[in-house]
């Protein structure tokens, strides 16, 4: 990362000819300077992260419906009521949230798993130079470069039952199926969503792992080859251990992104996802925007935030401890 530092002799430059020698500008002294320099970062951090988060937590303690949305000060303070209502797994809302949570967890784990597998496979295959490698690299990155909306809306056209290309190929051309299946409603919708998500995310895994592979010294492979290690052995004993730092971050980031993914299901299903693919982000959106109940929507968001914090903390703890063990 680039950091700019002031040259130590900047203040002592010779005055240019013709200009009267000025007294060097006095630098503000004392402990004020660091705070002044930090101020822009602090302001942005407050504005972008902290304040919205605090507001979100505050909203979750209010009964914020259409009657009060215009002037929050009139919204009754209900304390934990929103949490009680949304997290009570015996109520309809709680049951749906729990259902949505399991769906999202399964979706995230599978999506990250497949994206990583595809990413590592492609990165390893493209590790050695060959004709057309650059072209393949560029091609593999296309899904990541496409705007989400354009890419996912195209998928939604492909997956339409009567007019979609997928059914046209499967049913009309290959004759693999007799009935036209639905891809965007019913049980298949989960798998459609998963495919689209993996398709969108794997290039990122590929990009990171490809970069990571550049740092693996060639001598290690040579040494392994001399020791008689085959492809799989080299993968297991050289490539993967060397990629460990990349993987640590990559898997966590992919998991957090997928778990919070809103764009893909929103565009694919047009706002209200089928039960089988009711991801938690869509669920929260529906609970707050569609039913104008921003309090319980916020309560769900805060619960989600806490869950992701715990997951991240546990993940980092475990992986750090392992690293300490190795050291």
């Amino acid at each position: 990362m680039a950091t700019s530092t002031t040259a130590p002799d900047a203040g002592r430059r010779e005055p240019r000819a013709g200009t009267p020698a000025r007294e060097p500008a006095r630098r503000p002294r004392g402990p004020l300077l660091p705070y002044l320099l930090l101020a822009p970062a602090i302001v942005l951090e407050l504005a972008v992260h902290v304040i919205p988060m605090v507001v979100g937590v505050w909203m979750s303690l209010l009964e914020l419906t259409q009657f009060h949305i215009r002037d929050w000060s009139t919204a009754p303070f209900v304390g934990w009521e929103n949490y009680r209502a949304t997290l009570d797994i015996n109520s309809a809302a709680g049951k749906e949230l729990l259902h949505s949570f399991w769906i999202t967890l399964a979706y995230s784990l599978l999506s990250v798993g497949f994206a990583w597998l595809l990413g590592i496979s492609a990165a390893v295959v493209l590790q050695r130079p060959f004709r057309g490698r650059a072209l393949l690299r560029a091609l593999f990155l296309t899904p990541y470069a496409l705007p989400v909306y354009a890419a996912v809306i195209t998928w939604s056209f492909l997956l339409q039952r009567d007019t979609g290309l997928v059914n046209h190929v499967l049913v009309d051309q290959l004759g693999l199926l007799n009935e036209r299946p639905f891809w965007l409603i019913g049980d298949n919708s989960f798998w459609s969503l998963l495919v689209v998500s993996v398709w969108r995310n794997w290039p990122f895994a590929f990009l990171c792992l490809m970069a990571g592979l550049q740092n693996v010294p060639g001598e290690l492979y040579e040494a392994a080859a001399i020791d008689g290690a085959g492809f799989w052995r080299r993968l297991r004993s050289v490539t993967l251990p060397m990629l460990r730092p990349v993987n640590l971050v990559l898997l966590l980031v992919l998991f957090l992104w997928t778990f919070n993914d809103f764009n893909t299901p929103f565009v694919l299903f047009g706002g209200s996802a089928p039960e089988q693919a009711d991801l938690i982000s869509i669920h929260i959106y529906r609970s707050s925007f569609k039913t104008w109940d921003f309090g319980s929507g916020s309560a769900m968001s805060v619960a989600l935030l806490l869950f992701l914090l715990v997951v991240s903390a546990v993940y980092l703890l475990i992986t750090n401890r392992r690293r300490d063990d190795h050291a």
């Binding site: 004392g30 402990p31 004020l32 660091p34 705070y35 002044l36 930090l38 101020a39 602090i42 302001v43 407050l46 504005a47 304040i51 009964e63 419906t65 259409q66 009657f67 949305i69 215009r70 002037d71 109520s91 309809a92 809302a93 749906e96 339409q160 039952r161 009567d162 639905f182 965007l184 409603i185 019913g186 049980d187 047009g270 706002g271 209200s272 089928p274 039960e275 529906r286 609970s287 925007f289 569609k290 039913t291 104008w292 109940d293």
Partner: protein, 432 residues
């Protein structure tokens, strides 16, 4: 105060100052009395078409008053959210179109200018407005939150040639007939009835009509939801059964949310369609007006006790003014302009809807068969959706429950009284 504390204090003050500086900007409400921002709803075939239709009228208004109106046509899928955001933030347009069923919901936010008698007088007077349309402009007993702009109602559109080919001589007048005819028409890849199954609003509108016919209500007199009553269960099941039991609707319709059912009807893939003012849309899809007939929406052959003779909601578009406008007089004069006899005639003629003012109905365009049918329904058998603050939530929850039931029907899962009731009970529990 130590130096250390002074430093922290300075940083905090700087932070606070820059934040308040962020707050004042980003106001796109017209500040000058010579401009207005107007969000129009999507009434024509596309957003672009609407702009082309509206722009000459806005130019005319500018010529008359010197006020320049900037129009943005907002798609229906975004409109309610955008209105809600504008109501919340106190920023946004001056004048907006709203679906008339949202009137009470938006009224409850307190963000809309109330049209009390004096304000109504300023936009042309209460007596000009069609009473049924005005009844759908806010909660009963309160000054309306909006002024009716376009009036519409549901009708049954049927393909004349497909009917003739199947030997059917007259459109169905009962649901039983509709199912029977539908079965005759559902052959060779064609279907009897097209349904917009994944569109919650469309579903909710039908939920209202069927419930009325079965003697049900979605809200009791105290405004509490009564979603899962036996009447409502029968009503919803009757509608879903066109796909689930009668099989006169293509299962694919469970995916439809972008007016594909209108296209299916226009392309002859389906013989019947229940829609409001479909004519102008059908025309742009190259279906000439003499290719289809327009009939009233059917009733039950033998209505149960308490069943009402209602076959449409009072559908329509209202015009509202945000309280946060800095140009209220200009906004009201724009409302007056848009509800004037001349503009009502021009715009409703183009959109195939009906004027919301009594004085503009004389134009021959409003005596075409489609408009006559709409007119007749509006004066005889249409009823407004419940004007309660929770109306928009009802549309979303019940409409989505029906979307899920259509998905069940399409994927071959049985739709029973019990499964319908379970969905409606769930929906009701989510009401606050």
């Amino acid at each position: 105060m130590s130096r250390r504390h002074l430093g922290i204090f300075t940083a905090a003050v700087l932070a606070a100052a820059s934040l308040t500086a962020c707050g004042g900007s980003g106001d796109d409400s017209a500040a000058s009395p010579k401009t207005l921002t107007y969000w129009a709803s999507n009434q024509g075939a596309s957003l672009e078409a609407d702009k082309t239709i509206l722009q000459p009228e806005l130019d005319k208004f500018e010529k008359q008053t010197g006020i320049k109106v900037t129009v943005e046509v907002v798609p229906w899928s975004d409109l309610l959210n955008r209105l809600l955001a504008a109501a919340t933030s106190g920023k946004g347009p001056d004048v907006v179109n709203i679906g008339n069923t949202w009137s009470a919901s938006l009224q409850a936010t307190g963000a809309l200018v109330e049209f009390d008698d004096a304000t109504l007088q300023a936009v042309g007077g209460k007596d000009r407005i069609v009473p049924a349309a005005l009844a759908a402009a806010g909660a009963p007993g309160k000054p309306p939150a909006a002024v009716p702009l376009y009036s519409m109602a549901y009708s049954l559109y049927y393909n004349k040639k497909m009917f003739a080919d199947a030997g059917i001589t007259a459109p169905p007048t009962t649901w039983e007939q509709l199912a029977e005819y539908g079965k005759k028409l559902s052959t060779g890849g064609k279907w009897g009835l097209a349904i917009e199954g994944a569109n919650p609003s469309e579903n909710a509108h039908h939920a209202f009509t069927f419930s009325q016919q079965y003697g049900g209500e979605w809200f009791d007199s105290a405004g509490k939801p009564t979603f899962d009553t036996p009447q409502n269960v029968s009503a919803i099941k009757r509608y879903i059964d066109f796909m689930a039991a009668d099989k006169i609707t293509n299962p694919s319709n469970a995916e439809y949310a972008q007016n594909q059912s209108v296209s299916d009807f226009a392309n002859g893939k389906a013989a019947m369609l229940l829609w409001q003012s479909a004519g102008s849309n059908l025309k742009t899809q190259n279906m000439p007006a003499d290719a289809y007939g327009v009939a009233p929406v059917p009733f039950l052959a033998s209505p149960p006790a308490g069943g009402k003779k209602v076959n449409s909601m009072v559908a329509g578009i209202n015009m509202a003014v945000f309280k946060h406008t800095k140009n209220k007089d200009g906004a009201l004069s724009f409302v007056k302009f848009m509800t004037s006899d001349e503009e009502q005639t021009i715009l409703n003629r183009t959109y195939g809807s009906l004027p919301a003012v009594k004085t503009a109905g004389a134009d021959p365009a409003f005596s075409a068969p489609e408009q006559k049918s709409i007119q007749e329904t509006l004066v005889t058998t249409a009823a407004p959706l419940p004007q309660v603050p929770e109306e928009s939530t009802f549309e979303t929850l019940v409409g989505t429950a029906m979307k899920e039931l259509f998905a069940d029907a399409a994927s071959g899962k049985p739709v029973t009284e019990a499964s319908v009731k379970a969905k409606l009970t769930d929906a009701q529990q989510k009401m606050r």
